[in-house]
Symmetry: C2
Subunit: 149 residues, 2 copies
């Protein structure tokens, strides 16, 4: 296999990742979910781990701090999340899902699982495992120092 051929993965990877996000976003919109795909990722992680700091959450969802700041801003504005001052450290916040946030997550979760399945038509469970393995290997190959999981 030549170098030339190897270089195409980056194009296909980018194209497919965008399509997956775009497809989900369209479904989110037609279902009036009132959140974006990335906002959902944040909400979902907050529902599974209460009282995270922004830094802890950023490490969970693999987003950088400025991006997370803005997503949290939007989620606060929508009333799904609150920034609670950290009792010991005045630099940081504990992130907390509001009542509205909790019920938003539980009402959207099943619908979103459904949407996510569509991508796997014509593919096997073995394909799924291989896909995850390859994605993780690529990630680690490029992740220099931190070798993050």
């Amino acid at each position: 296999m030549t170098q030339e051929q190897y270089s195409k993965y980056s194009f296909l990877l980018d194209r497919t990742a965008r399509k997956v996000k775009q497809y989900a976003q369209q479904q989110f919109k037609s279902g009036d979910f009132d959140v974006t795909v990335d906002q959902w990722l944040v909400l979902k992680n907050l529902s599974e781990n209460d009282l995270l700091s922004q830094t802890e959450l950023a490490n969970l969802v693999f987003k950088d701090h400025p991006t997370l700041t803005r997503i949290i801003d939007l989620l606060c504005k929508k009333g799904y999340v609150e920034r609670v001052p950290h009792p010991q450290d005045r630099r940081s916040f504990q992130l907390h899902l509001t009542e509205t946030g909790v019920s938003k997550v539980s009402s959207l979760r099943p619908e979103i699982l459904q949407i996510r399945e569509k991508a796997w038509e014509n593919l096997s469970p073995h394909d799924f495992e291989e896909f995850k393995r390859i994605l993780n290997t690529i990630y680690q190959n490029l992740n220099g120092e931190s070798l993050g999981q």
Copy 2:
């Protein structure tokens, strides 16, 4: 396999696609390439197909028209691309690499192939074929009407 497990691919896919772009962009920067990753994709396609219209190019690189307009704007500002009025159709342009653009492409091409290879350490040619197959299947599953290649 439960629905829950299936939903993780979208996170891994997005994370890996971002890492691939970020890694390449860092290398581009440390090598003073003077283009972004997406600008490179456009330049490369123009070097292989001269005198495309913006619509034709948009279909090649799978970017939407407004995005492409802005990338072309930047490449024109940098002097790598020219918009030549279409001789028959006054609505459209033929895109043309300048001298500078041509030499930029040929000087960067080998360096970029090198950068792209890094992702494939610890992976086999068979992995590569499976990866492409799965990416393309997912893309087509979500691509509703147009069934684009």
